[in-house]
Amino acid sequence: MSETWLLAVLTLDATVRVAAPLILAAMAGLFSERSGVIDIGLEGKMLAGAFAAAATAAVTGSAWLGLLAAVLVSSCLALLHGVACITYRGNQVVSGVAINVVVAGLTIVLGIAWFDQGGQTPALAHNARFAPIELPFADLLRGVPVIGGLYYELISGHNVLVYAALAAVPATWWVVFRTRFGLRLRAVGETPAAVDTAGISVEALRYRAVLITGALCGVAGAYLSTAQSAGFVRDMTAGKGYIALAALIFGKWRPVPAFLACLLFGFLDAVATRLQGVELPGIGQAPVALIQALPYALTVILLAGFIGKAIAPKAIGVPYVKER
């Protein structure tokens, strides 16, 4: 196996690792936004999930309990977002920003108060984390040219949450496009009045959508603190929630294109990390910061309609007022 080939496979492997939380968060956002509720708060919910997972796993020693805690905490925040946006018809963007800011502060305050390590949670022991899973025959097939290496490095050896993220994409597609709930979900994001006329509660539908968003964000957060790293550090999402939002928009609010956008953004990040400090011929120091900014730039260009057109769900951001 040549050096370049191995490097390429390893970069793709890193891509999958970086993209996993983005995929989970983008699928999360898809449910909320398709139902007509803007969610700027993916970032905050992920961060809260990461903290809850790490804190619970540190105390109980169980990664699975950590995951449960992450899903619960993130869902509570989603419920708060729902109360503000659906019941009280508040500004959805403001509510999302509020959740992000509250969580940014709260995770540090509680982290310091509970663990006394400057806002971090204690480093997790091996069994309090999600360990890589060796898929069957990985070792056996390792020697097989091309496919064996690909299988061993790229497909096998991830933790269960990575596979969950990958499974979330077809699952989301199936729910949104092949179930009755999905049909209603899409309808409520386009013309809520029609859904209401059909005798289906707009509010209940949107609450359900927002709660799914919360649960998936919790999983994304748990991935960050109990699978990718061994504990919570302050501001550990570092804009991933916004990147996921960008990917969702980049994928035009559709599961598969959003998934591909997550992979693209993950790939850019993996490449940027690999290029850290590398001298490129003709350019000099690789402009790592600029490569990392590409997802944002691409999203802006897409939104401006220069690469196809991203059309948001029609009723997005508009609280539904029942006619009397």
Binding site: I38, I40, L80, V83, A84, C85, Y88, R89, G90, N91, V93, V94, S95, V97, A98, I99, N100, V101, V102, V103, A104, G105, L106, I108, V109, L110, I112, A113, D116, G119, G239, Y242, L245, A246, I249, Q285, P287, A289, L290, Q292, A293, Y296, A297, T299, V300, L303, A304, G305, A310, A312
Partner: protein, 367 residues
């Protein structure tokens, strides 16, 4: 519905109740963290107003928040939500820094400072122009684009500071120091010049510029033809078009004004305090500006009051670090978020309750 409530309840009692709620919840957080909320409050207050130096710091923080608060407020009036204050402030600082670094050796201070101030406004406006233009002409939503522009600003600054503007032979990504003639004079130095002694603090004459910005925004929004156009577009775009106002132009110009105001944070930070270009000097002021604008109800007077409150929280928050083991200045971030939540997202929550109480009280009055 809102007609039935008197004005003083609508703009006085309800906002106060929302802020009280925010502080109550923050108090609960302090309890959970294992400290006494009242002790924390008293430390905050002493830290913010207890001594001469503290007041200077409080006003210095408030100066930044007036700029970002006004920026968010001006956009609000046109129905736009500018989340990009952080990025615009960052790029505004870059403008101020570049102008001061480039010109301080060539021109006298009384020329360099105004040019640098103008540069910070121009750079900030330019960073807001694109999201505004894209919203007006290409239909991309300003909320999303300004978020993206925050990250782009941050990446651009990291690139410039690490690769271009870094002082040669130095490890930390900072530029060389700006020559002292281009510094915005400190208030304690100016006052010492006329014989009044106050404690040293980062408070500088940018605060006068902030005051001027408040007056400007008040005149613009409530007393000018432009302000009328901005508010009309914000209330009802169709009516604006019918009245002969071009909403596209209004959106672009409003975003530029908003960006320029946010950019002035660079004046206070770079010309006033840091005296060099560096990373992360915006420290979240752009986001706090959202809380300030919501709490101040997008009116300059409200924004000044809200800025003073948050300035006090910022300054008092540093005191928390010294006095308590279990709580830090990050508590202030929580308070900020809660204020955004209660006086922004849940703004309509208190209304039915207030209305119910008001009616009840009145019925008893009449009986």
């Amino acid at each position: 519905m809102s007609r039935e409530l008197p004005r003083w309840i609508d703009i006085g009692v309800i906002p106060a109740a929302n802020i009280l709620l925010a502080f109550l919840v923050a108090g609960l957080v302090v309890l959970v963290a294992g400290e006494n909320p009242l002790d924390a409050l008293s430390v905050l207050l002493t830290g913010a107003f207890g001594y001469d130096e503290a007041i200077g710091y409080t006003l210095y923080y408030a100066t930044n928040l007036v700029f970002t608060g006004l920026a968010v407020a001006v956009a609000f009036h046109a129905g736009l939500f500018n989340i990009g204050g952080e990025g615009q402030a960052y790029i505004g600082g870059l403008g101020a820094g570049l102008a001061a670094l480039g010109l301080a050796g060539i021109l006298p201070g009384w020329v360099v400072i105004p040019v640098a101030v103008a540069a910070s406004g121009l750079f900030g406006a330019a960073w807001a122009f694109l999201p505004g233009w894209l919203q007006a002409h290409r239909g991309s939503h300003v909320v999303i684009t300004t978020i993206m522009f925050n990250f782009l600003a941050s990446a651009l600054m990291v690139h410039l500071m690490v690769n271009v503007l870094i002082q040669p032979g130095q490890m930390s990504p900072e530029s060389r120091e700006i020559a002292s003639i281009a510094w915005m004079p400190f208030v304690h130095e100016v006052l010492a010049g006329i014989g009044i002694r106050v404690a040293r603090s980062p408070l500088n004459l940018s605060i006068l510029w902030a005051a001027a910005a408040c007056v400007f925004v008040w005149l613009l929004i409530y007393r000018s033809r432009w302000g009328y156009a901005i508010r009309t577009v914000g209330h009802n775009e169709a009516a604006a078009i019918y009245a002969g106002i071009d909403p596209k132009k209004v959106v672009v110009v409003t975003m530029c004004i908003s960006g320029a105001l946010a950019g002035f944070v660079g004046v206070n930070e770079i010309l006033g305090v840091q005296h060099r270009l560096l990373l992360n000097f915006t420290a979240g002021y752009g986001f706090t500006g959202i809380a300030v604008a919501l709490m101040g109800r997008a009116h300059p007077v409200g924004i000044v009051l809200a800025s003073l409150l948050f300035g006090a929280l910022y300054q008092g928050g540093t005191e928390l670090d010294f006095e308590f083991d279990n709580i830090t200045r990050d508590l202030v971030v929580v308070v900020q978020g809660l204020v955004i939540l209660f006086s922004g997202a849940l703004a309509y929550m208190m209304h039915p309750l207030a209305l119910w109480l008001w009616r009840r009280w009145h019925r008893e009055d009449m009986a």
